[in-house]
Amino acid sequence: MTGVYKAIFNLAIAFFFVLTLEGIGRKITARVQRRIGPPWYQSFIDVFKALSKHPFSNGWIFDFGVLMALGGAIATAAIVPMGSTFWTPFPNTDNFFVIMYLFAVGALGMAMGMVGSGNPWASIGVTRALTQMLGYELPYLIVLASMMFYYKTASIHLLIEKQAGGWNLLVMPIGAIVAFISLLGMLGKKPFDIAIAPAEIASGPMVELSGKYLGLLHIMHVFSIFVEITLFVDVFLGGGNFWWFLLKFLIVWILAVLISSVLPRFRIEQMLKFYWGVPLGLAFLNAFFVLMGWTL
């Protein structure tokens, strides 16, 4: 039963912490661009305001897609360990692949619902997002595969425990760099915000969203960010107590925001060529080092 409480705690942290961080991120971007920016609680205002408005719906698949997206994201956020074995809701089910593929449910739900709105901008955005997935997932999965091979486990909380001697950031620095580049793609941050691209395709998947649908998908996005960054922190930045975890989370987020606030957007094939070039090569190099036993 404690697992369930921990899962609820996961969701609460995901919601409040990440929404706060989003606000902070907006503030940082503004300061980089020499603006003042919104207050740190702006994202809370956005979400609750969107939720309270009367929306338009484009049929049952639109509703179902939004529910599936949010449901999938909630399910994933509920099983991710937060930086230590103690904060692992379900120690038997925190397998990396399970988390990775559970995560895909939310993406599929969102894709389906948004294309169900019948707007071509949404379809274009979704196909772009899927193509981008093909880009960033591959280097990331290779790095994670080499790590699982090294530690002989795919369970996230065991991976955290095994880093007691030294963070993976230091054991496999190449892998950590590759995973961070992939993380930027996962977050859809600036050089990789091809799927949303407000100037080109009118925010892509989000084009037909109104009122509470926008609010619900914002919450889904928040849970996704939580899962993505938590996985990175767990796997590369070692364990520690809960506050340590939040601090590391914050640092990774600020780094991502800083990078994204100064870079322009890639085109879709530029993005693929980029990911399948240096990051994928480095991922294989990392795997080779692991095979040879040349880790720091």
Binding site: L51, S52, D63, A75, Y101, T127
Partner: protein
């Protein structure tokens, strides 16, 4: 067993004549025969053996093993579903009676392949299955005749190699019996012989399950065959190939046979060769599927990719990899059968297979859509459908063995599958409905019931996979692949891998809870106002202006995004080398050679005829035949 198989074969001929009177009665008899066979499988005892007859002094043996049970069960699931589906669907077909006959004949023959206790029996039933299915293929589209020929030639390439290897084995050991041959092969000192026999036998499986060099028939045969039969082709017949591949890699003790040939991570190089072919199929199948506009060809290429997964899983010869490969047989069989039946339903109503000509069918055919949706979730390997479990197992094996390149390809195929399964989802079912499909209706219950049943089975096996894992564990024990490892742990609700475990029930419950919370939030906030896809669109020809940048739209059909969906990505491999073109060149070469000979011998002039007659007579006299 022998009597049942032969009587079903005889019944298939009877079904033809009954169908001539009323094809509906024939189809119902087919379905009843299928149901009977399904029950019959559960009454047979594992390990029982029977003599079918004798051929040239050789006993034709039937043995019922755990593998026979598993593969026959999966086959019968698919075939039975299609048989029920066909009861209504056949009214769109030109030759229903022949379809009924060949379908039942093929069913009996495939079961014969799985029951076969020796190489010769397997070959005989194999050829019956190939021939009867080959005769169904040309009943489809216009191009289907050519498809049937290509299918037959590709299949024959494999089977002749298989037959040659069988005779090699016979001349060496004087035996066709599978169990005896396995023992003999394990003790044979000659490595070249073992490798040759292994690869030649595997060729039949490679041709049948659409593995790389012999995969081109899948696109053309699955794409052009009668729509419901594509479900059998992709869901069941291809699995005959997987069965043979399993026989040669796992039933024959390859790890013992090829001792000293280990290439990497304790996998012998002949196995590794097959594994590389499987990996190539994953790449080829995925990349080609992404760019298809014909939905049936798209899933045909996905069958190539999934055949690759099965082969990769089995060829690792690792406990969890083997189980993953075998479980993938079940998962892909069900997913492909559901998808092809859903497409058959769509074609039944719209008469086209082009994604670019459709759209918005979801509001017209919701049940078909739901079946397709669940099937693609399984095919893409997303929990809680059963497809995830087998992919997870294969990844486990690849990661554990440190096979990063193969793992990379497996990941690529998996994420690529998101791309290609989404294409029909968005292009056919979602988006704007073209005007010509305004009056399309959902298919009748007899057609959607089999689809929904298969979806339910796949779903239940995704949440509680232990019943289907049981025969697979038994198979693994039979083949003695690390028998000490236990993967299905039903008492703790866990699926155990080498690098950690997971609990499918918890994952499913999380889903339910996730949805429940999402639904709660959804109901908590203001109710939506329901609008049409093109909100202000009142009557025909009225101008529409939403999110179009000031342009007016008069035809909603043009507002559907379903051609060149992944243009950015497709452009990157536009100029890819094509194996089909290589085969076409080969084809042209032989054709030209034939023309040359033809030109020499059949000159349209009497003098040439006289010349060849004289030459022939001279040679005959000279050789003194």
């Amino acid at each position: 067993m022998a009597i049942t198989l032969i009587s079903i074969l005889a019944l298939s001929v009877a079904v033809y004549f009954i169908s001539k009177l009323s094809w509906k009665v024939g189809a119902v008899i087919n379905a009843l025969a299928g149901a009977y066979l399904m029950i019959y499988l559960f009454t047979l005892k594992v390990g029982s053996s029977e003599v079918l007859g004798t051929l040239f002094g050789e006993k034709l043996l039937l043995t019922y093993t755990n593998a026979s049970f598993y593969f026959s069960f999966v086959s019968m699931l698919v075939i039975l579903a299609v048989m029920v589906f066909a009861i209504k669907w056949l009214d769109s077909q030109k030759y229903p009676s022949a379809f009924n006959m060949f379908l039942l004949m093929m069913t009996a023959a495939s079961l014969g392949v799985f029951f076969a206790g020796d190489l010769l029996t397997l070959y005989i039933f194999w050829e019956i299955a190939v021939l009867s299915s080959m005769l169904i293929v040309p009943m489809g589209k216009k191009e289907a005749r050519r498809a049937a020929i290509i299918y037959a030639v590709m299949s024959a390439t494999g089977t002749y190699m298989y037959l040659y290897a069988s005779f090699m084995i016979y001349s060496r050991y004087g035996n066709f019996n599978l169990a005896e041959v396995a023992k003999d092969l394990a003790n044979d000192p000659s490595m070249p012989f073992k490798v040759t026999v292994y690869l030649l036998l595997a060729a039949a499986g490679i041709a049948k399950s659409g593995i790389f060099p012999l995969h081109t028939w899948l696109r053309i045969a699955h794409g052009n065959a009668p729509d419901a039969f594509s479900a059998v082709l992709s869901g069941q017949l291809v699995k005959l190939g997987s069965y043979v591949l399993m026989l040669v890699t796992a039933f024959f003790p390859t790890l013992k046979m090829f001792q000293g040939l280990e290439l990497y991570s304790k996998i012998p190089s002949p196995n590794y060769f097959l594994l590389a072919l499987g990996a190539t199929s994953i790449i080829v199948g995925t990349l080609m599927a992404i760019k298809q506009d014909d939905m049936k060809m798209l899933i045909a290429f996905s069958s190539v990719a999934n055949g690759g997964y099965i082969l990769v899983g089995i060829a690792t010869m690792d406990a969890i990899g083997f189980e993953g490969g075998i479980l993938h047989v079940f998962n892909h069989a069900l997913a492909a059968a559901i998808i092809f039946m859903a497409f058959a339903s769509v074609v039944y109503r719209t008469h086209t297979t082009k994604i670019s000509e459709m759209g918005g069918l979801i509001h017209k055919m919701p049940i078909t859509f739901i079946s397709y949706l669940f099937a693609i979730i399984s095919l893409a390997g997303i929990p809680p459908m059963s497809g995830f479990i087998s992919k997870w197992m294969i990844y486990q094996a690849l990661v554990r063995k440190g096979m990063f390149v193969t793992a990379f390809i497996a990941f690529f195929g998996s994420i690529g599958s998101f791309l290609y399964v989404f294409r029909p989802l968005a292009g056919v079912f979602l988006g704007q409905l073209p005007k010509k499909y305004k009056d399309v209706k959902e298919v009748p219950a007899i057609m959607w019931i089999p689809m929904v049943t298969l979806v339910a089975i796949s779903f239940i096996m995704g949440v509680w996979p232990f019943p289907i894992l049981k025969p697979i564990e038994a198979m693994r024990a039979d083949f003695a692949i690390s028998p000490s490892v236990k993967i299905a742990d039903a008492s703790n609700w866990l699926v155990r891998g080498v690098t950690g475990s997971w609990n499918p029930v918890i994952v499913f419950n999380l889903f339910i809870i996730g949805f429940a919370i999402a639904y709660l939030l959804y109901t908590l906030f203001p109710k939506p106002k329901k609008v049409d896809l093109l909100a202000p669109h009142k009557e025909e020809g009225a101008p529409i202006n939403i999110y179009t940048g000031g342009e007016y739209i008069y035809t909603p059909d043009l507002y559907q995004y379903n051609t060149k969906m992944y243009a950015g990505f497709e452009r990157m491999y536009e100029k890819h080398p094509s194996w089909e073109k290589v085969l076409d060149m080969l084809c042209k070469f032989f054709h030209d050679l034939g023309q040359l000979v033809h030109g020499w011998f059949f000159r349209p002039s009497p003098s040439a005829y006289a010349f060849w007659t004289v030459m022939t007579l001279l040679i005959v006299f000279w050789v003194r035949w």
